[in-house]
């Protein structure tokens, strides 16, 4: 479960921090385990110009958030709306996470999508 990718992003996170005066700033937590992720984003012409994450929690939640910021850099908001959770899980090297830990891995994506949807004034239909 603790793949090299996860341990690397956990120990040496990329894009950790906060963007000053962001266009999107969204924060959520996983109440059961206490993982917290905040995403701050600067938007330019409906594309992500800059993105940072901040938060606390387990290695999986923090590594996932860091990796996700790299995945979406420069992408359009429409592309982010369509981003599939399996793509994130596979990039983490953990395509088959069990039911308990998958929530840790997907918190960052949930925060990003909620942020983008609320920026666009739309409502996110969640499956869960």
């Amino acid at each position: 479960m603790y793949t090299e990718i996860i341990m690397d992003y956990y120990k040496y996170p990329k894009n950790r921090g906060k963007i000053q005066n962001p266009d999107i700033d969204f924060k959520d937590s996983n109440p059961l385990c206490g993982d917290v992720i905040e995403m701050s984003i600067r938007v330019n012409d409906k594309h992500i110009k800059d993105i940072k994450f901040d938060g606390t929690g387990c290695a999986i939640s923090q590594a996932s958030a860091s990796l996700l910021t790299e995945m979406v850099q420069g992408k359009s908001l429409e592309e982010i709306k369509k981003l599939d959770k399996q793509e994130l899980l596979e990039n983490l090297g953990t395509p088959n996470l069990g039911p308990n830990r998958i929530k840790c891995a997907l918190l960052s994506l949930k925060v990003l999508k909620y942020g983008v949807y609320s920026y666009l004034g739309e409502k996110l239909q969640t499956q869960e």
Binding site: M1, Y2, M7, Y10, K11, L32, C33, G34, D35, V36, T56, G57, C58, A59, I60, S61, R101, C104
Partner: protein
């Protein structure tokens, strides 16, 4: 008084089939008994025997199987009564577990005795099951809840106990042993204070009855509740002990079959206790399995069980205090601590998340619990999102604690 003797742990371990299995290729080290204990084959076989040889619905059956099942169910009630030294077996109500027992009291007693402006006293270290039912009652009745605080050692503050009980609460609901700190609370003292001004006391014994001798008459508790599955018994069975005169005055909790003596179109008469509180076909194999668990524990002797765990706690506290970056919560004195050790692990000052700790331990075959242990207010006060908890029982050994400690050292290397 029976003499304290040390338990033959390797013989005990042979009674628990699950301890033979491997987890992730390693022998299972089960340190999560505070959440649910493992079961000896004596309990498993007793339940199997019930379903294989005398399964039938209880009470009113005029046939052999029904009579045998009824006899076993009622014998279990007597056995449990004796185990906690209740005066009468009618004072034992079978429930689904500690949670249902507390809900029963909050509803059947609370709704008829707590009124607007009344005070309910709890403690900051309670499990959610001893908070939420009282919150619902307080909201319905516009009553208030105040909390006895705990200090930096996870011990209830004595002045708070006096001060809050002096406000004449209707009831004090308190855990005998904290499921997070392991603190053994001064129940006799609390009951003594409370009874001076007619306040009732409910004791949550989920973490005490499995681990130490409990005498409800000596404690003089008005209600005492616990679960079967934490004391070597099956899940889905719990106990509410209540003093006869209180139970008799209470209205039913759930209603329907089994709890009535007469039903007419417009009104019904209820049975006497304990049946008034056991509506519907009960969990029959539950009490029968629980009775087998009581037999097993009595064969070990509860004093010996307590001594064994005290020794494990003393040993674990000593070993863990040498692990760099490990912070232990709760009292350091094994005399006032049950077999629960809650901790967090820091690497150069930053928290290794408890889920990461327990996940890596699992890869070593070691089962501990991580999270808020159904005690969010306690964790909020400590400003922690979660903690790790290792808990011990009759089948745990010092060798297992050694392996647990060396696995923790591995975790530090892994995350640094």
């Amino acid at each position: 008084m029976s003499q304290i003797k040390s338990l033959n742990i390797s013989k005990i371990r042979e009674d628990f089939p699950i301890l033979k299995r491997k987890v992730n290729g390693k022998p299972l080290i089960y340190l999560d008994s505070a959440a649910s204990s493992q079961k000896p084959f004596q309990v498993i076989k007793t339940i199997d025997d019930f379903y294989s040889t005398y399964n039938a619905n209880i009470h009113r059956a005029i046939h052999t199987l029904g009579e045998e099942a009824t006899a076993a169910y009622e014998a279990a009630r007597k056995k449990v009564a004796k185990f906690i030294n209740a005066k009468l077996s009618q004072e034992i109500i079978f429930t689904r577990g500690t949670t249902e027992s507390i809900n029963l009291v909050a509803s059947a007693w609370g709704r008829h005795n707590v009124k607007e402006g009344d005070l309910i006293v709890l403690t900051e270290m309670e499990h959610h099951s001893n908070i939420v039912p009282w919150q619902i009652l307080a909201k319905e009745k516009k009553a208030r809840i105040e909390y006895i605080r705990f200090d930096e050692n996870g011990v209830l503050i004595k002045e708070d106990i006096r001060k809050l009980i002096d406000k004449n609460p209707k009831i004090v609901a308190v855990s005998h042993v904290s499921n997070v700190f392991g603190t053994i609370n001064p129940i006799k003292e609390i009951v003594n204070f409370a009874h001076r001004n007619g306040t009732l006391v409910l004791v949550d014994g989920a973490q005490s009855v499995p681990h130490m001798p409990v005498d409800v008459q000596d404690l003089d508790a008005d209600f005492y509740v616990f679960s079967g599955h934490k004391m070597l018994g099956p899940t889905g069975i719990g106990v509410l002990y209540g003093k006869k005169e209180l139970l008799e005055k209470m209205e039913p909790y759930q209603s329907g079959g089994e709890m009535i003596s007469e039903v007419h179109l417009q009104e019904s008469k209820y049975k006497d206790i304990p049946y008034k509180f056991e509506a519907g076909t009960p969990n029959i194999s539950g009490p029968i399995g629980l009775a087998a668990a009581v037999d097993y524990l009595e064969s070990l002797g509860m004093k010996n069980v307590r001594e064994h765990e005290k020794e494990l706690v003393r040993y674990a506290l000593e070993k863990l205090s040498k692990v760099e970056g490990l912070k232990i919560y709760g009292p350091k004195d094994p005399e006032i601590r049950g077999g629960v050790i809650t901790f967090n692990f820091y690497n150069n000052g930053s928290l290794i998340h408890p889920h990461d700790v327990s996940q890596v331990l699992d890869s070593e075959g070691i089962a501990i619990r991580s999270g808020h242990h159904c005690a969010m207010p306690l964790h909020e006060k400590l400003n922690l999102p979660a903690t790790c908890r290792a808990s011990f029982y009759v089948y745990n050994t010092k060798e297992e604690i050694d392996q647990f400690v060396s696995a923790l050292e591995k975790i530090r290397r892994f995350f640094s």
